[in-house]
């Protein structure tokens, strides 16, 4: 790879930055995903990019890796301007990427996966031998141990990620991009990943770490850049900044870490889950003896790193996945494996559900807003009489919903896909709040929602509690849990590892429980 020390355009650093982005701009429709973004990454350093969901981090690395072209801007690698039109260009320029969702073939061995795309000749034997040697070399050089003959599908996630890193290194990556690498990892696996990253840095690899978790930034990076709403708002040396400063840069305001005054006056128990245990098709326990209670007029926040069982718990409580062991009690109705219920009955029992994935579950993107406004309630009075559907009635209903919950644009005939993330989510919230549910299950209410939308959605959730609804709030955003909950339960590896009153805890304690380091019984 070409190295030049002369032509640094900004002249501030002695050596040319490994990577220099100037004025990168990318627009999707009306959304300015990247707005004249500048970034300089020093060679052999770990550089973090932080920002909230939707700040434009993923767009930036997608441009860097050739998934789509920038509308404007310049990319320099080692001081030389390069054109990256495809991921093949990116690889040729020594850029490697470890995706948030692994791009691995589960039924192939580690060796076969690493070879993929670089098989050599027609016959595999030669390429396989060379790859095996290269793997051993990489293992020695970087301490990346994986059994080359293990089936990837049978490896734990941490090791699968290691295979992704090996794949990138095998193709000669000198700049390694990791997009939210710890989202799927246990805290222990994350720590091991950081050790690997430090090792790679010692060997001269430059690392770009994309995350929204400040803990990781502080733990492993040398420098950090902060993105907010498509703009690069600050660059800092990690040693010269604090979590609090970065957090306020990310959101553009000082974060109040003190608990908000709660006006909750918890009433009677509305939903009780006892000893729910759930195994997936492969027999892996995804829930272990989970018990919780939801009380009228109270928000129970369920915190946890994503993938620790929250999603399946929501599905079981909403009747989408069957109860296997244990019991759910809603009023007089006891739901067990022998007396199951389904989403229709769940709604009839007064349970509303804002699903975690609004694109896959909460909405039908090709349906009009008015059709989405009755999803799940399409058998009721809102759609028409008898067996008939009355589009006029549905549109009037939808219009009223949009009016009440400020969904924009107020066009009941617009396809759901054409609304912004925040307005899509508001539409789902509106639909679920409208029938005055006794119990509300909410998953990731502000994922992919802009800041203004987040505030509006939070207000709706609090207003719903004031009306006496029992709310379960599942979120991977700790700030959100802290801001809204009256009680907080923490999940780790399919178990509830602790439950505390909001007033009696802080972010640090919850964070430790999320990482599985600390347990605490209900206060």
């Amino acid at each position: 790879m070409a190295v030049s020390s002369e032509n640094t355009s900004r002249g501030s650093s002695v050596t040319a930055p490994a990577l220099c982005l100037t004025g990168i701009t990318k627009r999707f429709g009306t959304v300015l995903a990247n707005d004249t973004v500048d970034l300089q990454v020093l060679p052999s350093s770990i550089h973090g990019i932080v920002g909230e969901n939707g700040a434009g981090k993923s767009t930036l690395v997608s441009i860097l890796y050739g998934f789509y072209p920038a509308d404007a801007g310049r990319i320099e690698i080692g001081g030389e301007q390069v054109a990256i039109r495809s991921s093949a260009d990116a690889i040729a320029n020594g850029i490697g990427m470890v995706h948030q969702h692994f791009m691995l073939v589960p039924s192939f061995t580690v060796l076969e996966n690493v070879m993929l795309g670089a098989e050599g000749g027609t016959l595999l034997q030669e390429g396989a031998r060379a790859t095996r040697e290269e793997l051993l070399r990489l293992e020695r050089a970087y301490g990346l141990e994986v059994d080359p003959d293990a089936l990837v599908g049978e490896l734990p996630v941490g090791l699968q990620q290691r295979v992704e890193i090996l794949k990138a290194l095998r193709r000669g990556a000198r700049i390694l991009i990791l997009d939210e690498p710890t989202g799927v990892l246990t805290p222990d696996e994350a720590d091991r990943l950081f050790d690997i990253l430090r090792g790679l840095r010692e060997q001269g690899v430059t690392i770009l770490l994309i995350t929204h978790k400040l803990r990781e930034i502080m733990a492993v990076t040398d420098r950090v850049s902060v993105m907010r709403q498509g703009k690069m708002v600050a660059h800092r040396d990690t040693s010269g900044t604090t979590r609090e400063e970065l957090a306020s840069l990310m959101v553009g305001r000082e974060i109040d870490f003190a608990p908000p005054p709660s006006s909750a006056k918890p009433g009677g128990v509305r939903l009780e889950a006892r000893d729910l245990t759930w195994r997936d098709a492969r027999g892996v326990s995804r829930l272990k003896n989970v018990s919780l209670t939801l009380k009228a007029g109270e928000i129970l926040g369920l915190a946890g790193i994503s993938g620790n069982g929250q999603s399946i718990l929501l599905d079981v409580l909403a009747g989408i996945s069957p109860v296997q062991e244990g019991e759910i009690r809603i009023g007089e109705r006891a739901i067990t494996a022998s007396f199951p219920f389904d989403p229709s009955e769940c709604r009839a029992l007064g349970v509303a559900h804002v699903p975690e994935d609004r694109h896959r579950r909460g909405l039908i993107l090709n349906f009009e807003a008015s059709e989405n406004a009755v999803l799940g309630y399409h058998e009721g009075q809102k759609t028409g009489k008898g067996r008939w559907l009355e589009p006029g009635r549905m549109r009037r209903f939808c219009n009223a919903l949009m009016e009440r919950f400020d969904v924009r644009p107020r066009q009941p005939r617009l396809r759901a896909a054409n609304f912004s993330g925040g307005n899509q989510q508001k539409l789902v919230m509106a639909r679920e709040i409208e029938p005055d549910p006794r119990i509300m299950l909410i998953g990731q209410p502000t994922r992919g929602v802009d800041i203004g939308g987040i505030a509006a959605i939070h207000e709706e959730i609090v207003a719903l509690r004031e009306k006496g609804c029992a709310i379960l709030l599942v979120s991977v955003e700790l700030d959100e849990i802290l801001a809204l909950s009256d009680r907080i339960a923490v999940m780790n590896a399919g178990e509830i590892v602790g439950e505390v009153a909001r007033a009696a805890t802080n972010a640090r304690e919850i964070g430790l429980m999320m990482a599985g380091i600390q347990q605490r019984a209900a206060a």
Binding site: C346, P355, W388, L389, N418
Partner: protein
């Protein structure tokens, strides 16, 4: 993804695709040494202008409306029902069995509706099985419906060459059905009204087909069942979340699809030919898939697409008569090109057109 205005997406784009298909077909005809324009004139005359031409075109259109609607209903639930051919075939058996049983002693106004129900029921049953296998056993409906076409074909050969074969003649075909059970021809109705009309197989099933378009539209866009059907087709996960029972929806969508395919037999058995002959669906079940694709699974689009394909079938016959060098296969080529451009490549010109519209 740029979104075109509706008039461009449903008006201009299909026309561009059609023009392209005809353009390439024209080049092939020119290569054969004939004038494409002369051929086009022969086709249009043969399909619409000539003596009785329109009657034949609409007769074929009728069959294609039924099989097109059949494919479209399944498409709405993201199911690919390839079995229209077999379902129409078995539908014909249903109609025939009812007519043979009751046609000789019941008056037409009773036996005809019964035969229509019979065709629909047999067609529905023939699609119900693949639907059930898909929903509850995970056997892919594409594979099973193809298999069921072969099974239907085997059963019908056995019956038409066996117990149902008309005695005293050598062809594997059924007896003629009683006149009282036949649907009136349009030319006969015209005569009764004192109008002139050339003989053609066009019969009252055409009106039944138009009515079926309306019924399907109402079912899909104006009933809760249709809402659930479209939800399952658009997003199974969202449908489950909404409490829609996906498996029964798959089974009922297939059954309705089969019933519509079965009705195609009414046009032929009670209408055009008055008997069940070997392989009477003659590929119309398969062409229905193309009709549904081109008609964007919407009854109005299907009506227009069925008219186009019906005209191609009829006009193509004339082409075959008129030119030495052009055979029936030319029509298959044109149909193939239309399917290629309107189905497989239907979105090819969307970016081009949206850029063009954006600039002006």
């Amino acid at each position: 993804m740029t979104k075109l205005p509706a008039w461009a997406e449903f008006g201009v784009i299909p026309l561009i695709n059609l023009a392209l298909a005809f353009g390439i077909a024209g080049i092939v005809i020119a290569l054969l040494g004939e004038s494409p324009f002369a051929a086009m004139k022969v086709m249009i005359d043969g399909a619409f202008v000539g003596n009785g031409a329109l009657g034949y075109t609409l007769y074929y259109t009728t069959s294609l409306i039924f099989t097109g609607l059949a494919a479209a209903v399944a498409f709405q639930a993201k199911l690919f029902n390839i079995g229209g051919e077999g379902q129409a075939y078995i539908g014909g058996l249903g109609a025939l069995l009812i007519v043979l049983t009751v046609g000789s002693w019941l008056p037409g106004f009773l036996s005809i509706p019964l035969a229509i129900l019979g065709a629909a029921a047999f067609g529905a049953a023939w699609a119900f099985l693949p639907g059930w296998l898909q929903a509850y056993r995970g056997s892919h409906v594409v594979i099973t419906t193809i298999m069921f076409n072969f099974i239907a074909s085997g059963i019908m050969v056995a019956l038409l060459a066996g117990p149902l074969m008309r005695p005293g003649q050598p062809n594997p075909e059924s007896a003629l059905i009683p006149d009282s059970a036949r649907l009136p021809f349009i030319h006969d109705i015209a005569h009764t009204l004192g109008l002139q009309a050339t003989r053609s197989p066009l019969n009252l099933a055409f009106l039944l087909a138009l009515f079926a378009c309306l019924v399907v539209w109402v079912l899909i866009w104006r009933t809760r069942w249709g809402y659930a059907l479209r939800a399952v087709g658009e997003s199974e996960d969202a449908a489950v979340y909404a409490g829609i029972k996906v498996r029964p929806m798959i089974v009922s969508a297939m059954a309705l699809s089969g019933a519509l395919a079965g009705l195609m037999a009414i046009n032929v058995i009670l209408g055009g030919q008055g008997k069940v002959t070997l392989n009477f669906p003659a590929g119309f079940g398969v062409t229905g898939i193309a009709v549904a694709l081109m008609g964007r699974s919407h009854p109005l689009g299907i009506l227009l697409a069925a008219l186009l394909f019906g005209a191609l079938v009829q006009g193509g016959t004339e082409l075959d008569f008129e030119f030495q060098t052009i055979t029936r296969e030319m029509v298959l080529l044109i149909q193939g090109l239309i399917i290629l451009f309107s189905g497989a490549l239907s979105l090819m010109f969307v970016p081009v057109l949206s850029r063009f519209l954006g600039r002006h």
